[in-house]
């Protein structure tokens, strides 16, 4: 579904020295699976996610989506094939919940009725009563509710792929736990290819079919949660999984 082939991304660091956010990363994400990108902060997991929807362009290497070279695609079309969920939901505060969720449908020129039906369907999917929430504004919602709306909005155009950047990171532990549970159910319902960035290993183990463990811009291990737990690729992974990862190399 999504292939990253020897992808690197460097940024100009302070003092001009190039910083490798991602270095020679190759990874295949299979259709229908949920892949969790994990690692300590600064490991390059968010950069990897943003490379997929071209919010960041690779310095070298190639990314294909469904066999097509992502670099050759219109970035807007590419992104509309991928739902995008960010921390705290990223809802537009000037739009109602209904219009936040239906924004992409609106931009795609859907008839109003169809958009409306889709919005209601999505709100129900994330356990928000459409009649109650449709006309509200984001500031009138709790953090958990906002995050559900964010997920609903990402699903609006029924994309094949869902990219999630720390979707539950800003929530209190109780809300996070319940949302994670709901998300597990949702994964089954929607059957998407999902890439989720998390710094929370427990979350990654819970949600991910496979884990991609990154450290200092490099892929250290890819495997199922069980693989990573039982057969860590090296001592660093072992320590990281044990919750006592040393500081990332070079940090």
């Amino acid at each position: 579904m999504i292939r990253l082939e020897h992808v690197s991304r460097t940024f100009a660091g302070t003092g001009g020295a190039p910083v490798h956010a991602v270095r020679d990363l190759s990874l295949e994400i299979v259709a229908g699976e949920t892949l969790a990108l994990v690692g300590p902060s600064g490991c390059g997991k968010t950069t990897t996610l943003r490379l997929i929807n071209r919010l960041i362009e690779p310095s070298s290497g190639r990314i294909t989506v469904g066999g097509e070279d992502a670099a050759a695609m219109d970035p807007v079309r590419l992104r509309r094939r991928m739902g995008y969920v960010v921390q705290s939901g990223g809802l537009f505060p000037h739009l109602t919940i209904g219009r936040n969720v239906g924004l992409l449908c609106e931009l795609e020129g859907w008839p109003r009725e169809k958009t409306r039906a889709r919005v209601d369907e999505l709100l129900s999917l994330v356990h928000l009563a459409p009649d109650e929430f449709r006309a509200r504004f984001p500031r009138e919602l709790s953090g958990g509710q906002r995050q559900r709306v964010g997920v609903a909005r990402a699903l609006a155009l029924d994309p094949e792929i869902l990219l999630m950047d720390e979707p539950f990171g800003a929530l209190d532990p109780l809300t996070r736990a319940s949302l994670q549970q709901e998300f597990v159910e949702l994964e089954r319902l929607v059957a998407k290819t999902i890439v989720i960035v998390s710094h929370d290993l427990a979350e990654a183990f819970l949600l991910g079919d496979r884990l991609a463990v990154l450290n200092a811009g490099q892929l250290v291990q890819v495997g199922t949660p069980d693989d990573v737990r039982s057969q860590p690729a090296n001592d660093w992974v072992r320590a990281f999984v044990a919750g006592a990862a040393p500081a990332p190399v070079g940090a």
Binding site: R50, R79, G90, F92, P93, H94, L107, P138, R139
Partner: protein
């Protein structure tokens, strides 16, 4: 209106303001004046005390001694307004000054000191060029003068300006700012008489009178018929070498009017040489310092001169109204509304233009640091140019000149910065996470701008527009300096006249206008701000 007491406001800019004022008058001519009945006589006067008193006298005389119905259009805005109204037949006559006719209307380049020659010249020129007749002068000469504290003058034995010369080094003068700076004021006088003073300070006129009374200064500049000369113990020094040009007042009348009403000239001539300077000082004093009505003062004078029957029925004094500030304001209500309308026109045109330019510009430079610095830098530099300098600069630009266009362009330039800055800030202050979400969801740059950035920046942009509007309303008062009208007119006139009430009659409405505009725009802002944002 525009030019106030024109002969006092001889700055080059104002001299050229004539055509604009003429055009304005032509446009603003009330229809009821255009449809005049033949047995009706309209008398005009300028917007300062003396002219209005003289106008009242003429009106009372004509009322009492002819069958004509008289209307007194008092307090017209200065020489060019009166003259234009006279030429176009909106008024039949008004009191004018020879020096004013000489310099403002005829624009004679040379100076003249001889009152008789000045009178004969303007009389002949007006007759030939405009078919306007100068009748017999009233007698008064409202010229510039130097005035000295009476006790000090008596002690030093000073009667004339020449008498000052030996004592010059010991004397301190407080002259009006205009007098200090004008070539035909202190610099010219000093050179003409070879007079040096120990200390010359530029003082606001009203303060100068206070200062001379307290003994802080010895000399002030004054008008020779100023009512304040009676209030303060001052000696007006004789202009023994004839530096100051003569400003003899006389009624000037349309030739057509005189031909239509053969007895009129005789009636008007009854005031000839009846009003010497001392009398005029007293009459001005009664109005300005004692708060009496123009008509009342005029009537009392005429009765005292046996020109008017004391028993004649007294008509209500429609023109007095200077009794209290409130009634003064009430009397100017119509005029104030007109000026406020004009003021708003200037402001709205400028702000609208600024919005059309600054918002797109703000959007365009929002992403480019170089563009941002250039645009904001330029607008910032323009902002630091003093308003008057900017207006003066506009006048020099072909196609702008002394017109409302200059004022609008100047106001526009001031309005650009706050709108540009706020557009820029508003767009850049949008939460980067939201922009990231928008782009990540697949919005095009255009959609990001119109669907996310601009709606979220509305409040900030509107705040910039509000600021720009309030600034513009303030700066627009300066438009009067280039004859573009607005509430600055009474302010500018009032400054020349040292007439606080007149200043306030422009300043208060201007301030109210600014508050009102701000309140109104804050409503618009609330209305435009997306509901989800209004907390």
């Amino acid at each position: 209106m525009t030019l106030g007491w024109s002969r006092r406001s001889l700055s080059p800019a104002l001299r050229v303001a004539g055509p604009v004022v003429l055009a304005l008058i032509a446009l603003a001519a009330p229809s009821r004046l255009l449809a005049r009945q033949p047995d009706r006589l309209v008398i005009g006067s300028k917007n300062f005390t003396e002219s209005r008193i003289l106008g009242e006298m003429l009106a009372l005389l004509v009322e009492a001694r002819t069958d004509l119905t008289v209307e007194h259009r008092s307090g017209l805005g200065g020489t060019l307004v009166c003259f234009a109204a006279l030429q176009s037949g909106q008024i039949d006559l008004y009191p004018e000054y020879t020096g004013t006719g000489w310099s403002i209307v005829l624009k004679e380049p040379g100076r003249i000191a001889d009152p008789l020659r000045a009178f004969l010249h303007v009389q002949q020129q007006y007759r030939e060029r405009y078919d306007i007749e100068w009748l017999q002068p009233f007698g008064l000469n409202n010229s510039y003068a130097l005035a000295m504290r009476e006790d000090r003058a008596a002690a030093l034995g000073i009667r004339t300006i020449s008498d000052l010369i030996p004592h010059g080094a010991d004397l301190r003068a407080g002259f009006s700012i205009e007098f200090v700076n004008r070539e035909d004021g202190w610099p010219g006088l000093s050179a003409f008489y070879g007079l040096q003073l120990g200390d010359v300070r530029a003082l606001e006129h009203g303060l100068a009178y206070e200062a001379i009374q307290n003994g802080e200064i010895d000399l002030v500049d004054a008008y020779t018929t100023d009512g304040k000369l009676k209030r303060y113990p001052l000696r007006v020094l004789v202009d023994d070498k004839g530096f100051f040009p003569p400003y003899n007042a006389a009624p000037i009348v349309r030739g057509e009017t005189l031909r239509a009403h053969p007895g009129l000239r005789e009636v008007l001539d009854t005031l000839a040489f009846r009003i010497p300077d001392t009398t005029m000082i007293d009459l001005n004093y009664q109005v300005e310092e004692q708060g009496r009505g123009f008509r009342e003062v005029a009537r009392e004078f005429l009765v005292g001169e046996h020109l008017l029957d004391a028993e004649a029925p007294v008509e209500p004094d429609a023109t007095a109204g200077r009794g209290s500030f409130v009634s003064f304001l009430a009397g100017r209500w119509g005029e104030t509304l007109r000026l406020a309308g004009r003021h708003l026109e200037l402001t709205l045109a400028a702000v609208l233009l600024a919005v059309l330019v600054a918002v797109p510009l703000g959007i365009a430079v929002a992403r480019s640091h170089a563009g941002e610095r250039l645009a904001l830098g330029t607008a910032g530099v323009i902002q630091t140019i003093p308003s008057l300098a900017l207006l003066a600069f506009m006048i020099a630009i072909p196609g702008l000149g002394l017109s409302a266009r200059s004022a609008i362009v100047a106001l526009f330039l001031y309005a650009v910065l706050p709108i540009l800055r706020n557009t820029h800030t508003g767009l850049n202050d949008v939460d980067p996470d939201l922009l990231d979400a928008a782009v990540g969801l697949g919005l095009t740059p255009r959609q990001v701008l119109f669907r996310v950035q601009l709606p979220l920046a509305t409040r900030t942009i509107m705040a910039g527009i509000r600021t720009a509007t309030v600034i513009s309303i303030g700066v627009a008062t300066l438009a009067a300096f280039i004859g573009a009208g607005g509430l600055g007119e009474p302010i500018v006139t009032g400054l020349y006249l040292n007439d606080t009430w007149l200043i306030l009659s422009g300043a208060i409405p201007a301030a109210l206008l600014a508050l009102l505009a701000d309140a109104l725009l804050s409503r618009v802002e609330r209305w435009l701000t997306p509901r989800g944002l209004s907390a």
